[in-house]
């Protein structure tokens, strides 16, 4: 019964999406108010069907209705309720349904927020969104149907993938990733509509930018959560292995970041229109490619545990979307030409150009590195690897250059910088750079790239702070007190500007933390007997004993260690091995003592409870916690920039404009 309701809703959503897409494109042609209204209605109706179907699935999971195919596959009466709820995205069929659910929310949201605006573009936008919705509804209806009926329902099921149950981060990582991935559909629709209409006015840039920035925030945090999960679970003391699925999440993020920057130049100077649109289209296409990489199983990855035969279907969709984007772009290439110009290389817009070059280069390099083994195997029949040493060699210089730009760009003025002006602007922050690099050297860093990163980092930090402060200072000069000035400049008026510098501050810390943590990590392997103590640097590790613990869905072997620093006890760590009933190999669960200065990480290699012997790996990594914190800061900065500034019309009456006034939001 439950299954049939779900099945019905999915089929209905397929019908609604198809009809709605046609109405949308029709509305785009005739551009009458009524037609657009109808397209909107169908968009809402699609959202209702998809959200309904997802709720039905949750209901089936919670009531352990094993007549429903997906519940039979991932449900279990033994697991805690929260595991049951999140098992919606623990396997392929459910996660595609979840994908549809998020797409529905995004579409409804986009339709809602553009209620009275952009009537010219909305028909085509809705048409494109619902066309994507057709594809996912089709996936849910046929090849990845979660509502299939089970003829002889069992009393109990196996439960979801143990990896999902092993750590809390694995529960919040997928929704964030989906919110990031699926959200790219909305700017893709807006951009496509603009291309179909043949013009990209400044007014229409705003919905593209906003709808790109929101999923960007989610994707930023999702990538970090994925890395954090790997760090907390996989037990090798690192968080990023340049695994194909990790790369897949990074690719659209890079192009979206580039697009957010080029959109600023487009807004200010009227150039880079075609380029910005291309980047927006590419971000969406890369999310589809990423989905293919994750789902198809052609890539070896620690993360792809939702593989299936839907790979080719996704590839067809990718090809169609790619063709659509290329045709649109080439059709409209003339109308996307520059209406403005760039005045000089040494200027803020010049730096934006280089920024875009580097982001796209990074995307290209990672894409090549990820796909290359596949290509070689397909054409030469040889197996080869492209791994961390390759990516490090390529990405570190580009990343360092980006950090350099992050400092130089905002310090340069728009338009042509005057002789000497550039130098004067760039000198003071360099002092802080030297200071930070010096401090790093004193603390034992000798890696060239790390020291360079520290120099650029200190430099960029100075510039970012100064840029954050300058509107406040300008207001204070006019006699406002600090509180009002901050309030007015950052919170009320310049949220977008303020938000983007918060993102920059986060990015500076992230890059520095990545450089320091990856080059200054130390590792040790230890064999210990019960009561034995080993010394690792300033730390002492005492093995207190190991025990087995039977839990409802797993058997855990827990080893306990007392950690001392300079003789003082600081923590007890309990890394474990979890043996799930449904898995042959046990899953390690390392334990970390984390401080802002650095992490002390113990991973269990082997453990023998009867003889009380353990083999452990101990990793000491400085600054790693800063990565998680600073990336969250980046996401928050993006959200701040997203909140629209208060209607400026009010401001004209209340706000006299004085010479040396407030810098424009940028």
């Amino acid at each position: 019964m439950t299954g049939s309701v779900g099945q019905f809703l999915v089929l209905l959503s397929l019908l609604v999406a198809t009809t709605g897409a046609m109405i949308g494109f029709y509305a785009g042609r005739v551009r009458t108010k009524e037609a657009v209204e109808w397209a909107r209605k169908f968009a809402y109706l699609y959202a209702a069907c998809m959200i309904g179907a997802t709720l039905v699935m949750e209901y089936a999971l919670l009531t352990h209705d094993f007549r429903v195919g997906y519940v039979e596959q991932v449900g279990s009466r033994a697991v805690p309720m929260w595991v049951t709820i999140v098992s919606l995205w623990s396997s392929l069929e459910g996660s595609i349904l979840f994908w549809g659910f998020i797409l529905a929310i995004y579409i409804a949201g986009a339709v809602r927020f553009t209620k009275n605006e952009h009537a010219d573009f909305m028909g085509d936008s809705i048409g494109v969104w619902l066309s994507c919705a057709i594809f996912f509804s089709y996936l849910i209806a046929a090849p990845a149907n979660p509502f299939g009926l089970v003829a002889n329902p069992p009393f109990d099921g196996p439960g979801p993938n143990p990896l999902l149950q092993n750590h809390l981060l694995m529960i919040i990582h997928p929704p964030f990733l989906y919110l990031g991935y699926v959200g790219m559909t909305i700017p893709f629709g807006f951009a496509s509509a603009a291309l179909m209409r043949g013009r990209l006015g400044a007014g229409f840039l705003r919905p593209i930018r906003a709808s790109l920035l929101l999923p960007w925030c989610f994707l930023t945090i999702a990538i970090m959560l994925g890395g954090w999960w790997a760090y907390e679970v996989l037990g090798w003391g690192g968080y990023w292995a340049w695994d194909p699925v990790e790369n897949a999440s990074l690719l659209p993020w890079l192009t979206a970041t580039a697009a957010l920057h080029s959109a600023i130049v487009m807004e200010r100077r009227g150039v880079l229109k075609g380029w910005t649109v291309t980047l927006v289209q590419a971000s969406f296409l890369l999310t589809v490619l990423g989905t293919f990489m994750t789902r198809s199983g052609v890539f070896n990855s620690v993360h792809s545990f939702t593989q299936s035969a839907i790979g080719p279907t996704i590839l067809v969709f990718l090809a169609a979307a790619l063709l659509f984007a290329i045709v649109l772009l080439s059709m409209r290439i003339d109308s996307l030409e520059a209406e403005g110009r760039i005045d000089g290389a040494v200027s803020r817009e010049g730096m934006f150009l280089v920024n875009n070059l580097l982001f796209v280069l990074l995307t290209f390099t990672i894409l090549i590195g990820t796909a290359f083994p596949l290509i070689v195997e397909a054409f030469k029949g040889k197996q080869m690897s492209v791994g961390r040493p390759y990516f490090d060699a390529m990405v570190v210089p580009i990343g360092t250059a980006l950090l350099f730009l992050l400092g130089v760009g905002p310090a340069l003025p728009w338009g042509r910088a005057k002789q000497g002006q550039a130098l004067r602007l760039l000198l003071p922050p360099a002092a802080l750079g030297v200071l930070v690099a010096g401090a790093g050297f004193a603390l034992g860093s000798s890696n060239f790239w790390t020291l360079l990163t520290l120099f650029f980092g200190g430099y960029a930090a100075h510039v970012t702070m100064a840029e954050m402060w300058s509107p406040v200072a300008a207001r204070m000069k006019r006699g406002e007190n600090v509180g009002t000035a901050v309030m007015q400049a950052q919170v009320r008026r310049g949220r977008r500007r303020f938000g983007s510098y918060v993102v920059h501050a986060g990015a500076v810390i992230t890059i520095v933390a990545i450089a320091v943590s990856s080059t200054m990590r130390t590792s040790r392997e230890l064999q210990l007997e019960k009561g034995q103590t080993a010394t690792v640097g300033k730390y002492g590790v005492t093995f207190l004993g190991a025990e087995d613990r039977q839990e409802p869905h797993r058997l855990s072997t827990i080893a306990r260690f007392r950690i001392t620093k300079n003789g003082k006890e600081i923590a007890t760590l309990a890394p474990r091995m979890n043996q799930y009933q449904t898995m042959r190999e046990p899953i390690g669960s390392p334990d970390v003592y984390s401080t802002l200065a650095g992490d002390f990480y113990i991973s269990l290699m082997n453990v023998d409870v009867p003889t009380q012997r353990v083999g452990i790996s101990v990793y000491q990594t400085p600054m790693i916690a800063w990565i998680w914190i600073s990336v969250i800061l980046m996401g928050l900065g993006g959200l701040i920039a997203l909140i629209p500034a208060r209607a400026p019309r009010v401001a004209i009456a209340s706000e006299p404009v004085l010479p040396g006034g407030v810098p424009a939001e940028s």
Partner: protein, 157 residues
Amino acid sequence: MIVFVFLALLQLKVPDAQQLVGAPAGKKLAGAELDQKTMELSQILRCPVCQGLSISDSPSIMAANMRDQVRDLLVQGYSQEQVLKYFEQSYGQFVLLKPKFQGVNTFVWLLPLGALLIGLAITLVKMNKLDAAPAAPAPEAPADDPYVARVRELVEK
């Protein structure tokens, strides 16, 4: 005698090194230098049973054995190239995480470089062309309202 037993044990760990890569060509390593080199090489060798992790990063037993093999080869005086060649002959090119600059693999190194050069050329040409033109006041950013427009005007002077 003890030395011989020790050597025999070493030979067991890497039984066929001599046949595969010839006589040791480097100097015998020990102490901190040995640790350093073992670590370096472990980072570019792929653990065959894992998903893309190096034997330095992998917690698997296989990776631990391979790390021991690397160490032993270095102790015996095999050079870095010989160690890598030894593993390549045993497991195929698959084991090298850093693709060798040869044959079809050169593309994975040269394509990004080519992209950089082309991108740089396009960017420079674009900026130069515009730079050469007489400087004209940049067109105003489309401002949606007079207040923002006025502020921009003042700031950009």
